[in-house]
Symmetry: C2
Subunit: 143 residues, 2 copies
């Protein structure tokens, strides 16, 4: 019931690109350095995100990766599913095969609950909240 580090890396990478703003591409090396991700591993992750249609890229001297759509149109769920695959918490029986088990209905509820968070959180949201916290000076002491 946890996310792979590959998934975490993917989220951090997309966050980095979202934070950066649109126009120019960001180099893999730069993302790897800022987010502390092994570079070669990151290469594979970014390729996977590109082929899912979330990123674009350009080669050559001023190359790099960039978001393929604005950050308010990419959700955490999109990225997680692209990297870690769809997450049904448990094997689903075929829909027309009546099952004598109380669990499928519960897994549905789990899935919906999860979806309410990850499919409604966009990277624009993440950036905005992160900026808010920055200006408030990160108040992490108590009273």
């Amino acid at each position: 019931m946890d996310v792979s580090v590959k998934g975490e890396y993917a989220l951090r990478a997309v966050f980095e690109l979202s934070r950066h703003g649109r126009p120019e591409p960001v180099k893999i090396a730069k993302i790897a350095e800022r987010q502390k991700i092994p570079q070669k591993f990151l290469e594979m992750i970014l390729a996977q995100l590109k082929q899912g249609g979330y990123l674009g890229s350009r080669r050559g001297v001023d190359g790099g990766y960039f978001l393929a759509r604005p950050p308010d149109q990419i959700t955490v769920g999109d990225i997680l599913r692209q990297i870690d695959g769809p997450f049904q918490p448990a094997k689903r029986p075929f829909a027309d095969e009546p099952t004598d088990s109380p669990f499928p209905e519960m897994w549905d509820r789990v899935e919906r609950a999860l979806s309410c968070v990850i499919d409604r959180t966009t990277f624009a949201d993440l950036v905005e909240r992160w900026r808010q916290r920055r200006v408030k000076g990160i108040p992490n002491w108590q009273i």
Copy 2:
């Protein structure tokens, strides 16, 4: 983001015991047969659930496993955590180490959303819903 089959087996086993009602113990072999679980594997799972305090057991000719508390006081979350470990979706930074990341807060939300389902669903609930569906004749056609 999925549950291990070990976890599923554990849920099915506890469901079987809950369904059965309290007094006499149920044999491993019986549970294994009714829920289609490899017997030797199930032995390990039940031992783990016992040492977590959820089940009791008795050896000998009329031995078997039984619930250590009534089914309305055991939740799906209890069992899942006992078998698969605590599920933080992602590594948590230490609480007092201010992190410059927007994700921990989101993982908190994920965890709470999940908890709302699995920590509020007891095995008494599962049995009851399952019985309800039984009497209604499993209406799984549309209109």
